[in-house]
Amino acid sequence: MACVPADEASLIAAFGPHLAWEPPGGFAARGTPDRAVKTHCCFCGQQCGVQLLVKDERVVGVEPWEEFPFNQGKLCPKGIKRYLQNNHPDRLLQPLVRTGNGFAPIPWDEALDQVVERVRRIQAHHGPDAVAVLSGASLTNEKAYLMGKFARLAVGTRHIDYNGRLCMVAAGAANLKAFGIDRAANPWADIAATDLILVLGANVSECSPITTDYIWRARDRGARLVVVDPRLTPIARTADLYLPIRPGRDVALLNAILHEVIRLGGVDHAFVEAHTSGFSEVMEAVRDYAPEAVEREVGIPAHRIREAAVLWTQAPRTMLLHSRGIEHHTKGVENVLSCINLVLATGKIGRAGCGYATITGQGNGQGAREQGQRCNQLPGARDVENPEHRAAVAAAWGVPESAIPRKGATAPEILEMIHRGEIRGLISLCFNPLVSLPDATFTREALERLDFYVTIDFFLSETARHADLVLPGSLQEEDEGTVTSVEGRVLHIREAVPPPAEARRDWEIIRDLAHRFGAAELFDFHSSRAIFEELRRVSRGSVADYSGITWEKIDEKMGVFWPCPDEAHPGTPRLFEGGRFYHADGRARFHAVAYRPPAEEVDDAYPIILTTGRVVSQFLTGTQTRRIGPLVDLYPAPRVEMHPRLAAELDVTDGDPVRVASRRGSVDLLAHVVATIRPDTVFIPYHWPGRRSANRLTVRAYDPLSGIPEFKVAAVRIERLPAVERV
């Protein structure tokens, strides 16, 4: 049974979250650092270069790394205060085993033996797939690669998936369908060189702040900015055109813009003819999407939709950028395809200053989706159900093709299967589903039904509290490896300090488990570098070809853009030059998509749209950032953001306690009354657990093509609470 072994207060007292404000010994004791380690931020997909200051083998501070070309020293508050996660009082320092009233230390050997014994016992009774592995996209390429191989060849389960399922999969699936490759089409320098930037569902200033600099550099040259978002975000505030879309109506809007572009004569017929297929179906599909026909549904006046189409048509070069705002939907893939249709129809891709990108969210959101830790993919972004791909990976691994399990369940499906009792054992690394998955009450019920759960973590996350065994792993700065940034640029993460006390590097833990699972010869790794060398070799010949990338080349060139098929190859900063795409025929594919409503529409009982997202000072489930004092001070607790017109209807004023309820559950929060959001929509950031968790409200509805949950639309009702003490 995996109920939490103690009450919340005593678990928090023992494991946090506690807040760290100062380096070890305080600011006064910091002194002159012994060295500055050039590496990258541990948080988002921008992967800003940063220097960690080390004194007496402890990380004590930060210094901008101005020579690194992507961010040139620029950082957000998370990047500046990230160093406070090191030497943190909550750090897990030894393996722990669940007891009757909490957790107790256990020797490493005993812990690892127990994992193998418990997993094998479940598999003996219920089959190999009764154990699942959940992994994460903050991991290095080396660790992501290792996790996929570990699950399939050491544990022997088909069920391996990762938290990128909540992040990148809709964009990834759409890019693969349209382009035959899943990577940002352009380097970020192309944003600064463009004439029009169209940003959809991307709170750039809070979720990828460094991209702000690229957008402003373009605007300094005269570029126009169009922003589509239900909230007036800081980047939208000064936009030339702002389209306050009703959440979940993206296909209707994009089809209407394309409808208008076609009417304006903006189609690049030569490009469409030479480099694409399927346009006539898209022409047909958008015929009924005149701006007047959709304006009520999308919530934007028709003349503004036409303005967007005119700006797009007139701009010689454009950059279309989107992120989770259009992807966290039951039609996430369709939303992205409708964006790509617009780009392809106007031939605005594959040139300097002209193209398209999804803004990857997680630290290694790009690389961690290529190395084979997805339920549907093998290393090299290969398809686990494609016989040729299976054969290539089997040959590289030196195993029979039949030894590689078939496609497994997605991360949310794994939790559903745990809830149904079909999966009974869980191994997790770098994933906090209790905070990140929709319908948190359901997720908690699922975790409580596990027969056995082992997690590798550096802090005891809310999910890890349910574990039978907790293995202390490594922070990003305690290991060496590579990540692949938002641009598709492979970067070098350097070890600043070794893991403290008994904590170990994640890959060492996984390797040692693999050995105990009887797969020693397949996991003969003595360094993370050795894992990278195998990853390179296995990726050779795939779309995501890393075989020409070496750590030395990364250092020399400040990053190498994949694909990079041989050591003499310079890497590929810009894709699709000359209209060459990655499908076998070299053509990009249009996909006709029709608008369909969200899974849960508002009604009389739940009349308000809830959308969720992030704040600049927190990252994802807050496992790290809710432990960093200066970041928590900036935004200590979630509030529900609502327009004054809605607040007046609810008889709520700014700061009032309110109860927000959906069909799944309710949360009590303070109201934040601001005129910077649509009056029919409220917003709650999702970084918090338990009684403040936005995901107590969200709906367990998934995109059928990618499995991404619909975090961006749910129906709620709101009532003012009578007394402050109820919050």
């Binding site: 930060v62 702000t212 600099d213 009703r246 005129a675």
Partner: protein, 200 residues
């Protein structure tokens, strides 16, 4: 030669990177010398960073009874000398921009000194190094004129007084002298007006 800081609130995204970076500077002990304000959050996401503008005739230094605020030959108005400062707060009252921070317990004023330890050795100040929007830009008049479509302004009219500063505020090309009005409100941006058109 020490450069100039150009402040452009129109670009500010309120991320607080400047504030957090300033707090990491040696000697600051976790305290930031930058003020970041939400101007009118109920109606706008407009934010603005306030750093010391380094007035050419600084009121803070003029009113200091302890002569604790020194001006370096390049015009940098330094933070109060700890051994002289009595924490009386005259400087904070006199400053037209609201920059000095008074620590009553320590009887000490602290303020932005344009990262003297960095800028005096040819480096950029911490805040302008990290600012992801370019709202804080450090360089020369020529550099900023070359990069931006706005204009640096260093004369500010407060009531009957004109203040000249070493650092500059970036203003639209159409704006001449900057006149500060105590009861001014934030004007609405195009986007803010477009949000009002949302069909619900």
């Amino acid at each position: 030669m020490i450069g100039t800081l150009f402040v452009d609130p129109s670009r500010c995204i309120g991320c607080t990177a400047c504030v957090e970076a300033c707090s990491e500077c040696p000697g600051h002990g976790g305290e930031s010398m930058i003020h970041l304000d939400w101007l009118e959050r109920a109606s706008s996401v407009q934010t603005a960073p306030t750093v010391c503008m380094h007035c050419t005739e600084p009121a803070c230094a003029a009113v200091c009874p302890a002569d604790a605020i020194k001006i370096d030959p390049e015009g940098i108005v330094l933070s109060a000398l700890a051994e002289r400062c009595i924490g009386c707060g005259n400087c904070a009252l006199a400053c037209p921009f609201g920059v000095p921070i008074i620590h009553e317990a320590q009887a000490l004023m602290r303020k932005c000194d344009l990262c003297y330890d960095r800028t005096s050795v040819g480096r950029k100040p911490m805040c302008a190094t990290v600012c992801p929007s370019g709202a804080l830009f450090y360089g020369t008049q020529e550099e900023v004129a070359d990069l931006r479509r706005s204009r640096p302004q260093s004369h500010f009219v407060f009531g009957g007084e004109t203040v000249h500063t070493r650092n500059h505020l970036m203003v639209p090309l159409s704006v001449g002298t900057v006149t500060l009005e105590p009861d001014a409100t934030v004007s609405r941006s195009t986007a803010e007006q477009q949000l009002e058109e949302a069909l619900c």
